[in-house]
Symmetry: none
Subunit: 504 residues, 2 copies
């Protein structure tokens, strides 16, 4: 078999695997949007079957043979060309996947699906006790999973790698250290400023129909293509990139609150614009896929915060917003609205927190996950450890576990190692915004004129169409000229909040 023939067959198998996996995405989307309650047991059977068959396809020995036949050949001599990138990533994926015994995959799937139900009830009842044994089981299995993957410096590295290929705990710790120090300083200054935005503007009359129309119009204006996408309603918002021409956002509406649905939609639209910007010609191969969760999150935070919470954006959107919500915003001035959407203060729930305090929520989770995975923290000690650390980081006494360690879905699903990518996303977003502003010249001016097209094109070209050509950090260097630094995010936050809160 020639290397070319091996490569072609490898790509064919990989495409089939991805198309197959995308069927699971449709099932997942449907489960969370329109599936009738009675269908949940049957849906679990469908999903388990797809998962099992996916694993079988992904670990097929033929993939190993084909990889061997193409590796080392001239076909891959340019490491940044599609063939080399695809083979490199398929090798990485295959090596990871074959290390997992099927029994462990199945046990993880079974355990996390039950743990999820227990978590839902535990959060609702605000009672950690019933969730405790399940968290223990999940942590035990995830530790086993990490050991199957293998690791050098620390076990947590093996998990991180699944969400942010190539990232290490040491590297992230080095970034998060100074970030935490500077954020803590900023948050303290804000708290002591004594200033408070007119928050009640955002908790007024926001009819759901008008919110939906406004969300849709804004997402489209930013560049989300509704001919190839949708926006639906769910309890937990998400974006599902099902495949070329089919990217779906969800959000949730509260008739008494503006921010939930609107910024949620901008966030998911950012993810969606990334998915829609991937190169469809490379669909099914790493060259047509997102580089990692950190970069993915950077695109959502880019539109949610760097565009959507800027003064320029509201200069543009204010007349439309007044038209959609005449009762709530008819007499509101731009400065008041801009301040209100940038209200910053320590709070309990991560997904409701502001641009500055958000990252402290992530740092807490990053630390706790390491302790759980290294074995320094027992599942039963999570609530105590959470509350103690929360007080130190955010200065608040956690009133109960529903507003503490039970708030997030991730651990019940075995998603340990995922959280740090949220803050990485914020850091990347800041650095990308800085680069785009420099390269496009006056991004604020463009945003204020609703001229989003050049920005989308820039993101498409620099990030989306790159697929997995580079690892995240290398991509950052290519796009911005520097490796990832906390400096850009802190500059952005310091500038914005110094002005808004009139800090010294």
């Amino acid at each position: 078999m020639t290397p070319q023939a091996a490569y072609d067959e490898l790509i064919k198998l990989r495409k089939e695997l991805i198309v197959f996996g995308s069927i699971g995405s449709v099932l997942g989307w449907d489960q969370r949007t329109y599936m009738p309650a009675g269908g949940s047991k049957h849906r679990a059977a469908q999903l388990a079957l797809v998962a099992g068959m996916s694993h079988e396809k992904a670990t097929h020995p033929r993939i190993g043979e084909l990889l061997k036949a193409v590796e080392g050949s001239d076909l891959l001599k340019d490491p940044a060309a599609a063939a080399a990138v695809n083979v490199r990533e398929i090798r990485r994926e295959y090596d990871r996947e074959v290390k997992l015994p099927r029994a462990l995959v199945e046990e993880l799937s079974r355990t996390t699906s039950e743990a999820y139900d227990v978590w839902v009830a535990a959060r609702k009842e605000n009672d950690f006790a019933p969730f405790k044994p399940w968290l223990e089981k999940v942590v035990k299995l995830v530790r086993e999973q990490a050991d199957c993957y293998g690791w050098k410096a620390c076990r947590y590295d093996a998990l991180l790698d699944g969400y942010e290929p190539g990232a290490t705990t040491a590297e992230i710790t080095a970034l998060f250290g100074p970030l935490q120090r500077e954020l803590t300083e900023l948050v303290a200054k804000i708290t002591h400023s004594g200033k408070c935005p007119p928050q009640k503007i955002l908790n007024s009359e926001y009819p759901v129909d008008a919110q939906e129309d406004f969300c849709r119009e804004t997402a489209a204006a930013l560049g989300f293509d509704f001919n190839s996408g949708r926006l639906d309603t769910t309890t937990h918002p998400f974006c599902s990139g099902i495949g070329p021409g089919d990217t779906r956002l969800t959000t949730r509406y509260n008739p008494k609150s503006f921010s939930d649905a609107f910024f949620g939609t901008l966030h998911e639209a950012g993810h969606g614009i990334y998915d829609q910007g991937l190169d469809a010609a490379h669909y099914g191969t790493p060259m047509g896929e997102a580089v990692g969760l950190g970069i993915h999150e950077s695109q959502s935070r880019f539109f949610e915060n760097f565009v959507g919470r800027s003064r320029a954006f509201w200069k543009r959107m204010m007349p439309r917003a007044r038209k959609f919500f005449p009762r709530a915003l008819g007499r509101t001035g731009l400065d008041d609205l801009y301040f209100a959407v940038n209200d910053s203060k320590p709070s309990f729930i991560r997904v409701e927190s502001d641009e500055a305090t958000y990252n402290l929520h992530i740092i807490l989770r990053f630390e706790m996950e390491q302790a759980l995975i290294n074995g320094d923290l027992k599942a039963g000690d999570v609530p105590g450890a959470w509350n103690e650390r929360f007080r130190k980081l955010l200065g608040l006494k956690v009133p109960d576990d529903a507003r503490g360690c039970l708030q997030d879905v991730h651990w019940s699903g075995g998603g340990i190692g995922y959280f740090p990518t949220y803050t990485l996303g914020n850091l990347y977003a800041a650095q990308f915004f800085h680069a785009a502003d420099r390269e496009l010249g006056g991004l604020d001016e463009m945003i204020a004129h609703g001229d989003f097209e050049p920005l989308k094109k820039w993101l498409n070209k620099k990030i989306h169409r790159q697929g997995m050509r580079f690892r995240s950090n290398k991509l950052c260097q290519e796009v911005t000229g520097e490796t990832l630094s906390h400096r850009f995010l802190m500059d952005h936050l310091n500038t914005k909040f110094t002005e808004l809160y009139e800090l010294q």
Copy 2:
């Protein structure tokens, strides 16, 4: 291997196959309800993959081995018991499926998935030309499919068998002949009666929201369980039984017409009540599956026409209908409404036609399909042939293809051989209604009191829970004491329309 062990493994494989196939149902439902337009190409790839993999699972040699190991054993000595029924049907299915090459299965899936989109646009634009090459492709592939299955008397038999196991063209022709003659006589009498129902009652103000609520309420009252089902909006209404606990209906709303959505919903609810009535304990095996499309259709027509267009039903529903549609029906009397929902006259659109003329639409399609499949009719000649035959059967000149040969979805999907099951359904429905009335005693009285539970229980027990225990015709004999005859339907129509139109 003992026969029992072979049987157990066979059932395990069959269940997996059905769960896998049900994933295709979710994809199909989504395609027709919420999928964005841009997703159609990717959806075609997903469906083709599922079709190919389903075919591979369905034709796995292990199934053949297991069948051989269990067939002829004592385990199957009672031919009406679950084991014998399951083995008989799995054998039939397997023998059919192994005759199809995977390439043909995938090509059919891909082609029909694209042809569907072309058909939607062609019908919208009222232009047959772009659809013509796709119809050609589909007919060519379906003819190939029929030849793979093999046939004796005529090629069309091979296709019929896929929708109505065991049915033959000759048998159906023998039923449809006298039916056509008697229907033509009845339709002529109605036309010459000079009477006309107050049709404008139904083409008045019917706000879509109220229609949706009324449809939902009525479907629930008839026995459709919304905890295990849904009702959505589509261009071409259908019912999708995804699996236990998940049965989905669709309908379409016209704010100026009552009948479309309402009777469409009753129709699909009849299908849905059948699917929800299947024995979930037998899910994944023929004992838990519908016996054929004719019987399936009988359940939909049962609720749409025999219940929904009866005087007894409107005696019950009139107060609710007036409440939902005060402007349209506030001053309407029962007799007028009952006559209006039974307006009978030749018209162009099958799904909008009345109980009497409907079957003439089917007979036309039955004839044309045979000609297409035998090779006597070319795809390009379909519009001309359709219009000519339509004039002879229904006495009307077809004004355009949107109201002619482009109106139905079936051919774009390769569903040739499907249409005759609609009229079989009408015949079965009439015969079942007659039997239920006799056994339950005064069905009209029950309907007039909104007491639908005994009827649903009767259908559940006599038909739904029987699964594929008997072939359709045998089931009809078991339930009604006689083989299928056109007499019951004609008696019903003659009685109803003689009274309404004061025929001689």
